[in-house]
Subunit: 252 residues, 2 copies
């Protein structure tokens, strides 16, 4: 008779990664993915296959400062041992910041209330050498006050069809943006967007549009027209993946 | 009769690089070096071999935010064209920030008055995933006030034999450190050291020693003893290359 521990341990892990080398979070056969690396390490730690659920997928090249993933298992391991063991097995561009006990049934995706993404822009004359895989280089001067005025337009609850990859449009594109703010520190501009949910490429299209519209001295009315059009073609470029960081995921 | 332009143009260039992929600044046969890449690009731009002189060599894996190098040539190119052309030819981890006219006889090494190096430490429980090639990860908590007290000891003019790679000791190891300061911002510690000249690995030994001594709760007297001993073996570890950045070079 096989002994099965009747207790299920629900775990919540916070991890950091440099997305440059990965085809995103989500497992894909034959591709390097963050989930693939983490599940391979979990299998070694637990001796059995463990499925993880992240707060959300990140695309190829997108980084995370504090991605959250959950899993459950009948095998006991201390939180300290989980973090230590995974960090010793994971590649150097993925690190577990900590492992925690989670409430029964905890699911990092469905329990997430809202998330903050950070986007980094290098705004100067010469391209990035140190930050080439972590920032978006834009040579044209970006007026951050104008950018903030444009970002203000998309705050609140709207149909964000115009800010979503056209081919991945869902039936319901209504989302609530709690804040969207740009801040300049010398030649670096940081944009933070917090929302209850994000459409595919939503942050990158918001940032790309706000930057493009700022440089072209377009107004809040233009931003409003784009939003109301629900037409992706009316917007600016999709800012590249390497400037995007999943910064924080909020739970109850 | 060959026409030779009687005018010599002296140029000063400021460049940024991520040192991870390079065996340092200095040209070496069969190795990837920053100088090798820049001189290869200059040769394409000018159609002849151009020799560069940097403010100082940086070791393998060390980065630069504003390395300065000089060269001279009889061929005219505008400063804008130099920067643009080099940036289009250089690998993405090396960028020319700007090119300037320099006074006659300008030499980036001999004309440098003093330099500031920055050293970045990640001080937290889990290792760096995003910054693994740009910071030194130390798990033990570092008391920055103690570190500053220790760093204060080495400020001023001293014989820095104890803070130099033993095998590269020179006859005269007297240098003047103008300031050495540590600053904490969350889990990141930044150390800045400014001096009129540096011995081989001097900043890395200063930082490694200050960190080690801080963790071991050693005192200013211990730091003074090490300095006075002129014996490298009395000091702490050499902090690894990846946390070091040449930040600024000062000229008249």
């Amino acid at each position: 008779m096989l002994f099965v521990n009747p207790i299920t341990y629900y775990k919540k892990c916070i991890c950091e990664y440099n997305g440059t080398a990965y085809s995103g979070w989500q497992f894909q056969y034959g591709q390097s993915t963050v989930q693939g690396e983490i599940e391979a390490a979990l299998k070694l730690l637990y001796g059995e296959r463990i499925s993880t659920v992240a707060s959300g997928r990140t695309d190829a090249g997108v980084h995370a400062l504090a991605q959250v993933f959950s899993f459950s298992t009948n095998i006991y391991r201390s939180n300290h041992a989980i973090a230590q063991a995974l960090n010793s097995m994971l590649p150097r561009d993925i690190a577990i910041l900590r492992a925690e006990d989670a409430e029964e049934g905890f699911n990092a995706q469905f329990c997430a209330l809202h998330k903050t993404y950070k986007y980094m822009i290098l705004n100067r004359q010469s391209r990035a050498a140190l930050e080439y895989d972590r920032m978006w280089f834009r040579r044209d001067y970006i007026d951050v006050d104008r950018m903030n005025a444009l970002l203000q337009v998309i705050c609140g609850t709207h149909d964000f069809s115009a800010f979503c990859v056209a081919k991945s449009l869902k039936e319901n594109c209504v989302r609530t943006v709690n804040f969207a703010e740009a801040h300049r520190d010398g030649e670096q501009i940081t944009v933070r967007v917090n929302a209850s949910g994000f459409l595919h490429n939503m942050v990158r299209i918001i940032v790309g549009t706000a930057v493009d519209f700022s440089i072209k001295k377009m107004t809040e009315a233009d931003m409003k027209n784009m939003l109301d059009s629900r037409n992706r073609r009316r917007g600016g470029v999709t800012a590249p993946a390497q400037g995007l960081y999943l910064e924080e995921v909020f739970y109850d």
